[in-house]
């Protein structure tokens, strides 16, 4: 984490860029060391990112997703205006920013659920501009929604099976011939149960998804997205409404996905989670990207602090007390008692 010595924000990229730069402290290096990535690929991803200068729009050594000049206006209001962003392959990138910053809008644009006024973006070298949501998902970029979309009157297992790719039985002319798709269905069921078990939903498999709690639906949606074998998964606030103990294990899962080679881009308000697992953090405010960099340093960036808390504030957003194992242990104990 040598690039942490100084933190940069590109000039002219957003509100608060006229404010002074807060120099990053040496503490950052220690904080980063406390959360060393757990596998070789992860170390590699972090290692590569660590050498990059943390300025807005910086190019990454192995970018899987590249977006240019993506602009979305609602009436007179510009909800999203991203000049240039690259997302590193095989890394966990967090997209943070205050409410209404345009994170979800940006997600919608990238994944084909909304159309920008202008802009180009490509995934694995192929342009995704103008592609429908389904085509984007088929290309391997699968998203979840901030407002959870559980398919209520399907069972949890059916929700999962629906996500299995290339099921021959989903073609109309084969659908009435069960022998053409039964084998695929069996394999998919096995895989679904494995993923459900990972998300502690296995015993809910026969229940209607509509009977799940809000947090369980978040988990189901993430599990369902994984069922599609994505190359890159885009999670819109995956931890919102999930209990702290499960958040811990979710974070573990996300890291495990990255270690298996998946690229993760996630929106999250929980700074502790962001700090804990992300390899790179991109900060949005008022539709623009105002900063990007490694998690430890970017949260001290004055532009970022300003974006969240307004100017004249010197709080560190990535407050380490949230990482305190004692606090977590207490939460865990409380959860057990319930």
């Amino acid at each position: 984490m040598s690039a942490d010595e100084t933190t940069h924000a590109a000039p002219g990229t957003g509100p608060g860029d006229e404010a002074g730069r807060a120099p990053a402290s040496v503490v950052d290096a220690a904080a980063a060391a406390a959360q060393e990535p757990s596998s070789a690929t992860a170390v590699e991803a972090r290692g590569e990112l660590a050498e990059i200068e943390p300025v807005v729009g910086v190019s990454k050594p192995d970018a899987i997703l590249v977006a240019d000049d993506v602009v979305r206006r609602f009436g007179g209001m510009t909800a999203c205006d991203v000049d240039h962003l690259e997302v590193q392959r095989g890394a966990i990138t967090a997209l943070i920013g205050p409410n209404g910053a345009g994170k979800t809008t940006f997600f919608n644009l990238l994944t084909g659920f909304d159309t920008p006024q202008s802009g180009t973006w490509s995934f694995e070298g192929r342009s995704l501009q103008g592609k429908s949501g389904a085509r984007v998902a088929k290309a391997g970029m699968v998203r979840t929604f901030q407002l959870t979309k559980a398919l209520s009157r399907l069972t949890v297992l059916q929700n999962m099976l629906l996500a299995a790719p290339d099921n021959p039985g989903e073609r109309f002319w084969l659908s009435w011939l069960p022998f053409t798709w039964r084998a695929h269905e069996m394999a998919a069921t096995e895989k679904a149960m494995e993923i459900l078990a990972r998300f502690k939903l296995a015993d809910k498999a026969p229940d209607y998804a509509g009977s799940l709690s809000g947090g369980q639906r978040k988990l189901l949606e993430m599990a369902r997205a994984l069922m599609t074998d994505p190359t890159m998964i885009m999670l819109d606030e995956p931890m919102a409404g999930v209990n702290p103990v499960l958040v811990q294990s979710l974070l573990g899962h996300v890291q495990a996905l990255r270690d298996e080679g998946m690229t993760v881009l996630f929106v999250e308000h929980d700074m502790h989670a962001v700090r804990h697992i992300s390899d790179w953090v991109v900060v949005m405010a008022e539709g623009r990207i105002v900063a990007e960099g490694p998690p430890a340093s970017v949260m001290r960036d004055q532009a970022v602090v300003d974006a969240y808390l307004g100017a004249h504030h010197d709080t560190d957003l990535g407050d380490d007390s949230l990482l305190d194992p004692e606090i977590l242990a207490r939460l865990e104990a409380e959860e057990e008692k319930r």
Binding site: R135, A137, K149, N159
Partner: protein, 333 residues
């Protein structure tokens, strides 16, 4: 007592009438649309009328029975594609508006003098002009047959052959729909019914599935239309909004998103509707009820009661007779 038996026999006859089978098939189509995919088709009568015209006109032009049947199905297919391509991209309500107007357009074109040469205008096509090919197919011997209280000629307009054929088609369609709705294909439709964006996010071409559902259900509507006119005539005004409204009542009574719902719904609905009308007529003719309900009002009161039944049904038992109560709990999201 004799009167009572007569009334009951009449409703039993209505419950297994070929027109009841025709409504069952139209409602199965509607079930694919609404029950499984969540599409609001408010113009099923348009598909039925188009099927009837397709069958009748091509038969009169000299087509053999199965070719005429294919033409009827083709008419439903084209109609569904034409309606679906522009509207299925839009929100669900638009399809409802477009289908109801399109069905009316079909009816108005049918009854206009413009195409009178083929459609017969407002008076429609006489049954004897297009029933020949169908009746020639009958394997039954000449004569009449009595089964229990029911007696019909073997082959003819209102015959055992028409009943046999119509319910045979219902059985085949039921089997087919049962197979496709329990498949992964059917699961995608149900997913779309629940939340189409979620399904889209999983890489499924939602638009294509919705179109497939609209086409298939519409073709079943057309098939129902053919069955409906086999014992009757093709009269555009008999196949208007009321018909769509009856098809919806049948579906909701039996239970949307169930396989047997539309069939059970159709039999119960038409049986009960007949019972109600003949019962009321008998009461008003023979008892003091006649002072309140005159026989001339029976039809109107019958129609009114159907409307009231549909309303009560959606309020108190929206899952219908066969529907799953558990599923219902999540209707409100």
């Amino acid at each position: 007592m004799d009167e009572l038996i007569r009334i009951l026999t009449q409703s039993l006859a209505e419950a297994i009438a070929p027109t009841t089978a025709a409504f069952a098939i139209a409602a199965i189509g509607l079930n694919l649309h609404f029950g499984y995919t969540g599409l609001l088709n408010m113009g099923q009568a348009g598909f039925m009328l188009l099927g009837a015209y397709g069958f009748g006109i091509s038969t009169i032009a000299g087509a053999p029975f199965f070719l005429a049947l294919l033409i009827a199905l083709g008419a439903g297919l084209i109609f569904a594609v034409v309606l679906g391509i522009p509207t299925l991209q839009l929100r669900g309500d638009y399809l409802a508006i477009v289908t109801i107007s399109a069905a009316e357009i079909i009816r108005w074109i049918g009854r206009s003098t413009w195409l009178q040469e083929w459609t017969g205008g407002a008076s429609g096509l006489q049954g004897r002009n297009y029933k020949g090919t169908f009746q020639d197919l009958s394997p039954l011997p000449d004569g009449r047959t009595t089964i229990g209280p029911l007696e019909y000629i073997n082959t003819g307009s209102d015959s055992w052959w028409t009943r046999l054929f119509a319910w045979g088609v219902v059985a085949v369609v039921l089997l087919f729909v049962w197979l496709i709705t329990r498949s992964p294909w059917g699961r995608v439709l149900k997913g779309i019914r629940e939340d189409e964006d979620a399904v889209r996010a999983l890489g499924k071409n939602v638009y294509s599935y919705k179109l497939q559902s609209l086409v298939l259900g519409g073709m079943l509507g057309s098939l129902g239309g053919v069955l409906y006119v086999l014992p009757l005539t093709i009269a555009p005004d008999a196949m208007g909004r009321t018909m769509t409204f009856f098809a919806w009542t049948v579906l909701l009574l039996g239970g949307a998103a169930t396989v047997f719902g539309p069939v059970l719904g159709s039999m119960i609905f038409f049986g009960a509707y007949m019972l109600m009308r003949t019962g009321m007529r008998a009461l008003s003719e023979n008892t003091g009820v006649g002072n309140i309900i005159s026989t001339t009002n029976v039809e109107q009161i019958g129609g009114m009661l159907v409307g009231a039944t549909l309303m009560l049904l959606v309020i108190f038992r929206p899952q219908g007779i066969l529907g799953n109560k558990k599923e219902l709990a999540f209707n409100v999201r």
